[in-house]
């Protein structure tokens, strides 16, 4: 049976991460399974967990009163669900719903924040991995709101 350290080491998100950091991160990680329709994260809750999807598809949703929820984006294998754990006040900004059965590595965010605070090299390593994720999503969202498809 593979250890969590080995599983994390196989994820592209952690590619090139020094083994001592992978070991530290693995100490905050465990496997999770979600059925279709289950929520990984609820908007407004403390952002005390984030996930690395190993299999399945997750919808990030925005709920609005009196109307059905709107899917802002979908995330799949190898992608991160939850970035609010990095930013005070550490509250989830979206609902994250499993669109199909999902297998994911869940991280105890408080545990990892503590380790990042204690070891700034680890914190910088995590920032280097999360910042591109956030920039890519911001960029993709800009293209989404441009509504370009009607132009051809």
């Amino acid at each position: 049976m593979e250890s969590m350290e080995q599983i994390l080491g196989q994820q592209s998100f952690f590619a090139g991460c020094p083994p001592e950091f992978v070991r530290l991160i693995a100490g905050c990680a465990r496997n999770h399974h979600f059925k279709a329709g289950e929520y990984l994260i609820r908007e407004g809750e403390p952002a005390d967990r984030f996930y690395l999807v190993r299999q399945g598809k997750v919808a990030l949703e925005i709920a609005a009163p009196g109307r059905p929820a709107i899917i802002a984006t979908t995330l799949g294998e190898g992608e991160i669900v939850g970035v609010s754990w990095l930013i005070p006040p550490y509250r989830a900004e979206f609902d994250a719903r499993a669109m199909e059965p999902v297998r994911a590595i869940g991280m105890d965010a408080a545990c990892l924040r503590g380790k990042c605070d204690a070891d700034h090299h680890l914190g910088y390593e995590m920032m280097k991995r999360f910042l591109p994720v956030m920039v890519k999503r911001l960029h993709a969202t800009r293209l989404q709101i441009l509504d370009v498809y009607g132009q051809r």
Partner: protein, 279 residues
């Protein structure tokens, strides 16, 4: 190309609308048959100049491959005076057709390699003949991936074809929309977000990209970030085509005429021009 077209490319042939299929709220597919003679052969990615009598001409790519019938099939979006007049044609109506013109998709060059099709909005129309040709000779290609982006689930073009392609076990089809409710089970996000999730060998793949120019620019950038060389990325460019044979200059794009040197061009030839405004 027929000899008479080669002699005078400005003289349209008369075609009759055989059928009209409504694809989207603002787009229809017209099946055209020649009133006399036979339809010329053409390659996936080429276009015709369609002439709505008394209104004008517009360049529209073929949306079904040459081997699929005896006429031309064009999908037209009602986006202006001429395309609006074409989109309102009914079965039995006639129109003028000049063509085929331009370059085609590099389907033959893609043999033995992975094929990545990236379509945005109505950009799936010029790509459909290439997809049909690849799937008709599927064993000659590596992995085949079709990525389609559009506004919302109700804006998905050729749903029937997409469903059929999805059912095949030898094609990876992913559709993504900008906006959707919770009843949508597909992807949500811009089409470029699907590129890193797609299975292809960047050193041995051909990408064919068609859609709004902004989308093509960012798709090309995403493909290059995934390691694909610019020479293996092909875009179908759109400009104001008039003569369609490289004489009038209306469709000039830097040193190239889109009607004659394109519409399908390798990224390496136009990469430096894509971000230049007012070209």
């Amino acid at each position: 190309m027929r000899a008479d077209i080669a002699k005078d490319p400005f003289v349209p042939e008369i075609y009759r609308v055989g059928s009209v299929r409504r694809e989207l709220a603002d787009a229809v597919t017209l099946e055209l048959e020649p009133v006399s003679g036979t339809r010329p052969d053409f390659r996936p990615g080429q276009f015709n100049m369609l002439y709505a009598f008394g209104v004008g001409e517009v360049a529209i790519s073929m949306s079904v491959g040459a081997s699929e019938g005896t006429g031309f099939v064009h999908t037209v979006r009602n986006a202006g005076a001429v395309s609006g007049a074409l989109a309102r044609l009914e079965p039995g109506a006639t129109l003028g057709v000049r063509g085929p013109f331009g370059t085609g998709w590099p389907v033959a060059e893609a043999e033995g390699r992975d094929v990545l099709i990236v379509a945005g909005g109505l950009g799936l129309a010029p790509l459909r003949p290439a997809i049909q040709e690849v799937l008709a000779r599927r064993e000659r290609f590596g992995r085949v991936t079709i990525l389609v982006g559009c506004r919302s689930p109700s804006d998905i073009l050729y749903q029937h074809d997409l469903e059929q392609w999805k059912q095949r076990l030898d094609v990876n089809v992913e559709v993504t929309v900008d906006h959707a409710g919770t009843d949508w089970h597909g992807n949500v996000g811009f089409v470029t977000t699907l590129i890193p999730r797609s299975p292809f060998d960047p050193d041995n793949a051909i990408a064919m990209v068609c859609g709004p120019e902004v989308m093509m620019r960012f798709a090309a950038s995403g493909l290059q970030k995934a390691g694909m060389p610019a020479g293996n990325i092909y875009l179908s460019m759109e400009r104001n085509m008039k003569c369609a044979i490289g004489l009038c200059g209306h469709c000039q794009f830097g040193p190239a005429f889109i009607c004659k040197d394109g519409p399908v061009l390798p990224l390496e030839r136009i990469a430096g021009l894509l971000a230049v405004q007012e070209i």
